[in-house]
């Protein structure tokens, strides 16, 4: 596909190497976003044992609320993301209380259907408030960095750095803090954890809130690069599911490796083959992996 490649190259003096580096950084930035979103989802699966199909909708809502605070209210970028993240934390807790908690003893098909209902609700809500058209969010972070001859926009660097910091903080939270450790305890053994005095309901709420918060950070970071629309969560939803399935449901390292691997595969195929293949690559990889290993790559033996 030489034609596509030529069309995608920057106008001024593109060499194969700079294009590659540029795409690598694009892939890393996208990977950071995927990771943040996927980790939340995989945490929720680990604790509540449900695939939260409304995750993409939470991500979308997070992007819009960030947009609202940044553009309409006019607070600084970082503060807008922070406020949106806290609000989405509350939305996540509410979602657990109102939707998933009453269904905790139902068959797993019912959770998924309820999550779909919640997803449609959030989408319709965003459309009612902000309209169906695409919106652009401007960011105060402008300019470009030159790395090895390739021009990388500062926003992408910010995404990569923030993603790494947030992931490190999250790891610290889960491994070191008492609340984080309760999450891991519940993941390992729900009954055992409640026997030693951990309240599974509290942990479920905390986890869903946390996953919504992480999704919002991802959305707030990527919103200036992409456009906002009420259906922006759909494509991400599917890809994030592909990632956590690849990594094994409930596995944190799996989500991180899967997120970066998939994002880089996606940007590279989009650059060197075609954009349609780039969009589908996540699912092609998913189908290939599941055909060989039906339980994902990094699945740990989980007790059900």
């Amino acid at each position: 596909m030489r034609l596509t490649r030529a069309a995608l190259m920057p106008a001024e003096d593109p060499t194969i190497m700079t294009l590659f580096i540029q795409q690598l950084f694009n892939g890393l930035a996208l990977g950071g976003v995927y990771c943040l979103a996927a980790i939340g989802l995989t945490l929720v699966f680990g604790v509540l044992r449900i695939p939260n199909l409304a995750h993409g909708a939470l991500y979308m809502l997070g992007a819009y609320i960030t947009y609202f605070f940044l553009t309409t209210v006019g607070v600084p970028y970082i503060a807008a993301i922070g406020i949106a993240a806290i609000m989405l934390f509350i939305v996540g807790v509410g979602l657990e209380r109102l939707v998933f908690h009453p269904l905790r003893n139902s068959p797993h098909t019912h959770h998924m259907i309820a999550a779909v209902g919640a997803m449609f609700f959030f989408q319709a809500l965003a459309q009612a408030i902000w309209g169906a058209d695409f919106r652009r969010m401007d960011t105060p972070i402008t300019g470009e960095l030159r790395i090895l001859g390739a021009e990388i926009s500062a926003q992408r660097i910010v995404i990569i750095v923030t993603a790494v910091i947030v992931l490190a903080l999250l790891a610290l939270f889960i491994k070191r803090s008492i609340h984080g450790q309760t999450i891991e305890a519940i993941e390992q053994d729900r009954v055992g954890a409640s026997l030693v005095g951990i309240n599974p309901s509290m942990v479920s709420m905390l986890t869903l809130g946390l996953s919504a918060l992480l999704a919002t950070i991802a959305a707030g970071l990527v919103a200036p690069i992409n456009l906002l629309s009420p259906t922006m969560g759909d494509a991400l939803n599917l890809k994030v599911f592909a990632i956590i399935i690849l990594g094994g449901l409930g596995s944190l390292p799996g989500a991180i490796v899967g997120g970066f691997a998939l994002a880089i595969a996606e940007t590279m195929t989009a650059t060197y083959i075609s954009s349609a293949v780039g969009e589908a690559v996540a699912f092609i990889v998913l189908v290939a992996v599941l055909a060989i290993k039906p339980n994902g790559l990094f699945t740990k033996a989980v007790q059900r």
Binding site: F45, I50, P51, L98, V99, P102, L103, N105, S106, P107, H108, T109, H110, M112, I113, A114, V116, G117, A118, M119, F120, F121, F122, Q123, A124, L125, Q127, A128, A132, P230, D234, L238, F241, A242, I245, L249, A276, E279, A280, F283, I284, L286, V287, L290, A291, P294, N295, G296
Partner: protein, 371 residues
Amino acid sequence: MNPMKNPRIIGTIAVIILLGLTPLAFAQENYAMRVITVGMCAAIAVYGLNIILGFTGQLNLAQGGFFGIGAYGVGLLTTDYDWSFWAAFVVSVIGTAVIGYLCGLIALRTKDEYFAIFTMAIGFIIFLVISRWEPVTHAHSGVNNVKFPEGGGLIDFESPVAMFYLVFAILLICVYTTYAIRRSSVGRTLLTIRTSEDLADAIGVRVGFSKQLAFAASAVFGGVGGGLYATVVGFIGPDAASIDKTFEFLMFILVGGMGTVAGPLLGSMIVTFLFELFQDFQAYRFIVLGPIIVALVIFAPRGIVGYLGGFVDRRNRRRRVEEARGADDDLDSTGASTSGGTGDHRARNVADGTESGAGRTGGTPSPEETK
């Protein structure tokens, strides 16, 4: 007991007759006829979902994709290749069956959540192919002027009423097929798998083969529904294969009642009506419908037909208790009527397979929770 006295069968037949008579009321209103006919096309696909989700308990999220394959098969063959409708219809249904079978080969290696997400990915790949493969599917410009079915000079399918009865006839076949499956050993096998795969495997059920069959059958129903949809609407776009279609079907089956015979039909009609009611709000309708879905799953997970079925069961049980008090003679036949019922949820208990067992295990408060 005479099957004609079974409230479930009477109810199902009443719904069908009522639906069959709608043209009398709406024959002059083309729009209303069209909405009802499109609703019936969806109902056919929902019957497919009923086999794999309702009977077998596997959440298949590729149904919208199979619907799209059926629709595009008919749409493209009748326009770009100028086939007759019937030939195109048969070929696309067979095509959907083959694609469904092949997808099932891989998809059914996975279980539970993995299966649901995997089929969602299959559905999305089908959607991507349809919406991006411009030279063949015309991508976003869609397919225009799909042919009407040829009436052979006898019937003019351009009239909405004739079209209605064509879809209605095929829908009846689907309803009867579901009823037949539900009563046969195949249906019991599928219900056993829904109850417990490991248990089914242990008692000698060919789990993999049965699931494969159920998956392919559900794809075929999806293809039939899609093919009819294409000719009823006349224009199809990539929306016909989108993941939203799957979620719509899911809502239909949920409202009606999973694993029941009348459920998919009733659910499709009621939700189609609700969609029309909220037509003015367009996309905002989900502000109301979203919470309705959630509330339904939480408070009425068995759907309308399941709820009514529970009511019938309670009445039967009460009557049985009274009869048992009076004389102990008629126990066998009442037991038979319960387990042979059309939308009987209780049969998901494997132990329920024996006729006389139904009378005794009927006392379990809610089999839904034991699943």
